[in-house]
């Protein structure tokens, strides 16, 4: 590690980052007008923006101080934290690009280089970034290591493989066998052993030694953070819900990409407090909550504001989602006393790595406990594990629970995949059904 790099990093951490936050704060002095349909915005939004901006900002100076790892959203990052890797989550970065409606731009770079348009847009955006260096986050550090797990999809393996080859850096893949009915002992042993096998490589790349007690502390922190996140999501059972799932899409960034770090743990305490206060005071995310909805699949990042407004104006609030729940659902399996097996259980049973019977039961449970009146399913071109089976899930739910449901064909981050007419027609029809149904 270079001394100069360390000093630079420290200066940026102690002075540069706060200065940047102050500047952003100054720029934000004039608040954006909030449509009437919404309740008061969350105060925590400010802190959220700060910690994410700070993380991206400091990442530029991380090289030379810590090794940099690009990580997938379902990967057991706690292991990397034990080696002080500075982590970047390309999925989070791609979502950011998508939200800024720049997805097509980055995708075109990847497509121009020979990647098919039929591939996941998170991957195309990330590959477009890698090939051009472009990023809305200022400047991203090149990784020293790639760390992925196929517990969210097999695509990440193909994608990260392409990056590993292009940048000539090591790729560590955590192979998580799909759960057909139950996890078997063989599955758990396999995953637990893989984690332990990774230690020598991680030591070599990071130049740090593995200490079990350090790792256990990180696990503890991660568990606590996930539990808090779960409690925040639970609070949305209140009527009116203090938050909307569209808010939650933003607020999940720390649990995904900063999990295991004190900053994420602290952040969710702040958010939890604010959410609790709103519940106590009956403050809702939208000013008049008449209908409560569930969202299935990842967000349509380039249309979050549009959809939030559309539904809020019709007094509809999204109070739960399978996506945001994913980082809370399996935390209960973690056990510091049995770290390897428990991580295998936690990470191996992530919703997308689990069978559709489990998913259907989970969705039904969420619909019941959150008093949901209707369902919107985003059928995304990019994500096969999330989208294949949705037609049958929808049918099962509408039949068994007599619940109105609509499917929107779009994408996570490629704004070209959007048919204005089709979406509007479907949304209007759904609203009519909902308003006319027994739930209305």
């Amino acid at each position: 590690m270079s001394i100069r790099a360390e000093i630079k990093y420290k200066i940026m951490k102690d002075y540069g980052a706060p200065a940047l936050m102050a500047l952003q704060d100054f720029k934000r002095r004039k608040p954006r007008p909030i449509p009437e349909a919404f309740g008061p915005p969350l105060d925590s939004n400010k802190r959220l923006k700060e910690i994410l901006s700070r993380h991206y900002f400091l990442s530029r100076y991380a090289r030379g101080v810590n090794k940099v790892a690009w990580v997938t959203s379902g990967a057991p990052v706690e292991l990397l934290r034990a080696f002080d890797f500075y982590t970047i989550y390309p999925e989070n970065h791609s979502a950011l690009v998508g939200a800024k409606k720049q997805g097509a731009d980055y995708c075109s770079i990847a497509e121009g280089s020979g990647f098919s348009q039929d591939l996941c847009s998170y991957a195309r955006i990330d590959l477009g970034h890698m090939l051009s260096g472009k990023t809305p986050a200022g400047k991203l550090p090149k990784p020293d290591l790639l760390f992925c797990s196929n517990n969210i999809c097999q695509t990440v393996l193909y994608w990260y493989k392409a990056i590993a080859h292009e940048l000539n850096i090591p790729l560590i893949h955590f192979d998580a066998p799909f759960v057909t009915t139950e996890q078997t002992e063989a599955d758990i042993n396999y995953m637990a052993q893989q984690l332990q096998d990774m230690i020598p490589i991680l030591e070599r790349v990071s130049g740090r030694v593995f200490y079990l007690d350090v790792f256990e502390n990180i696990l503890k922190r991660s568990m606590e953070t996930s539990r808090t996140w779960g409690a925040i999501l639970d609070a949305m059972k209140a009527q009116p819900a203090p938050m909307t799932i569209f808010d939650a899409f933003g607020h999940l960034a720390p649990i995904v990409s900063l999990r295991g770090l004190p900053v994420a743990q602290d952040y969710y305490h702040i958010l939890m407090e604010e959410v609790d206060t709103r519940v106590t005071q009956g403050i809702g995310a939208i000013s008049d909550e008449r209908y409560r909805l569930i969202w299935d699949n990842i967000a349509i990042w380039y249309k979050v504001r549009f959809l939030a407004t559309f539904f809020a104006e019709r007094k509809m609030n999204f109070v739960t989602a399978t996506y945001t729940n994913a980082w809370a659902e399996t935390t209960g399996y973690l056990n510091v006393k049995d770290p390897w097996n428990s991580m295998a259980k936690t990470y191996g049973q992530i919703i997308l790595n689990n069978n559709l019977k489990h998913r259907l039961e989970l969705m039904k449970k969420m619909i019941k406990t959150y008093s949901v009146d209707g369902m919107v399913m985003h059928s995304t071109r990019s994500c096969k594990p999330y989208s294949v089976g949705q037609f049958d899930l929808r049918k099962a739910i509408t039949t068994d629970l007599d619940l109105p449901a609509v499917i929107l064909d779009a994408d996570i981050a490629d704004e070209r995949v959007w048919s204005e007419q089709q979406i509007h027609t479907r949304l209007e029809a759904f609203c009519e059904t909902l308003e006319g149904s027994k739930h209305g």
């Binding site: 280089s113 020979g114 990647f115 098919s116 039929d118 591939l119 996941c120 991957a123 196929n150 999809c153 097999q154 695509t155 393996l157 193909y158 994608w159 493989k161 392409a162 080859h165 292009e166 893949h173 192979d175 066998p177 799909f178 057909t180 078997t184 002992e185 063989a186 599955d187 042993n189 396999y190 052993q193 893989q194 096998d197 069978n355 559709l356 019977k357 259907l360 059928s379 071109r381 096969k384 594990p385 989208s387 294949v388 089976g389 949705q390 037609f391 049958d392 899930l393 099962a396 064909d409």
Partner: protein, 366 residues
């Protein structure tokens, strides 16, 4: 050399009381099924119009998955023991649970995971474990496995592999007098013939002592499935021979090098799995894939390569870009076709194929 028609053959087999399991692509311990007297009928691209599957699957899902679901929804009589979904990709993974848990079929649905790592203690131990778990799930229905039958199945598999390797080698060096259509019909017959019948068929293949006539142009093909019979016939008309392949339904399911005769079935199957050629569906290393392609191109003196990509096939498409870039960089002509597995070549694809062969004919041979 008569190769029986698939539909008729399987019908006769089912009528005779043979247990038949419908197996989705791609890799699975078929020797274990054989040891239980279960015949594996592979389902890759059932022909016909897709109607009912569209009610369950989005438009951007690959035709292998769509056609397979269409087939399953018909509840065909020839499948009587159940369906097996080996783990190959996201779409097939989800199709398995969709069929089993949401749509529902009257037959048992099994799965088999294929580990995505390369050979090491952890992956081999896991593979042995899942083989044993699969054995247990079969025993639960069919009673205890006879160890000698398991070994016999591995021996049979070993013999088939040996013949396939020899035939593959013969093809590369023009020691085989089969045209493209005949060659791939032979390759694909393993998807439905009983292994004993398939071995007999392979034993009848005539490997020439001297190389036969050299084709006008030599091409390699890479992808999941061989090109459709129509395309193969068209290539035969044009005088182009596919002399080597990198196909999941072809050379990627044959070990890279000959193995010793099996002694312990579990050891044999585990070793065999890990010496299969690299494949996009198992996270195969890109350098290894390039090496494998180059090796075959050199051995067969292929002048160019055709990537016949199944539409929406993510594993293939991700790898495709680098493979094409590298091959083009070495001045190998490359043609990429996208297929929806219909036995009909569009005018556009005919033009592409013809233009590509015009390119190959113009080349000075190396």
């Amino acid at each position: 050399m008569m190769i029986p028609n698939r539909k008729e053959y399987l019908k006769a087999l089912a009528n005779s009381g043979q247990k038949i399991m419908g197996v989705l692509p791609a890799l699975y311990p078929r020797e274990l099924l054989w040891a239980f007297d279960i015949h594996a009928a592979e389902i890759w691209d059932p022909p016909g119009e897709i109607l009912h599957a569209n009610a369950h699957l989005q438009t951007t899902i690959c035709p292998i998955v769509k056609r397979s679901l269409e087939f399953i929804l018909k509840e065909p009589d020839i499948i009587n023991a159940g369906y097996l979904f080996p783990h190959t990709c996201d779409s097939l993974q989800n199709l398995g649970t969709q069929v089993k848990d949401l749509i529902g079929v009257s037959l048992p649905v099994y799965t088999f995971y294929n580990p995505k790592g390369s050979f090491n203690n952890t992956t081999t131990r896991y593979y042995r474990d899942i083989l044993q778990n699969f054995q247990l799930s079969m025993e639960a229905v069919y009673g205890p496995l006879a160890p000698d039958k398991f070994l016999a199945a591995c021996v049979l598999s070993h013999k088939i592999d040996s013949h396939l390797m020899a035939i593959q080698q013969a093809r590369m060096t023009d020691h085989l007098s089969l045209n493209n259509a005949e060659y791939f019909k032979l390759m694909r017959a393993q998807e439905y013939l009983l292994p004993t019948d398939y071995l007999s068929l392979l034993e009848q293949v005539d490997i020439l002592d001297q190389p036969g006539e050299s084709p006008r142009a030599r091409m390699m093909v890479s992808g999941i499935l061989p090109p459709t019979p129509e395309i193969l016939e068209f290539l035969d008309e044009l005088g182009v021979s596919i002399v080597a392949d990198d196909l999941l339904a072809g050379s990627r399911r044959i070990p890279k090098f000959p193995m010793d005769a099996p002694v312990s079935p579990l050891d044999y199957l585990t070793d065999r799995f890990f010496i299969l050629p690299p494949c996009s569906t198992r996270g195969g290393d890109l350098d290894e894939r390039l090496h494998h392609l180059s090796k075959h191109m050199n051995a067969s003196q292929a002048q160019g390569i055709l990537f016949d990509i199944v539409k929406f096939c993510e594993p293939e498409l991700f790898d495709h870009r680098l493979l094409v870039k590298t091959l083009r960089g070495k001045n190998y002509p490359v043609l990429t076709l996208e297929t929806e597995l219909e036995n009909h070549i569009s005018g556009q694809d005919k033009t592409r194929i013809e233009a590509f062969t015009e390119l190959l004919f113009e080349m000075v041979s190396p």
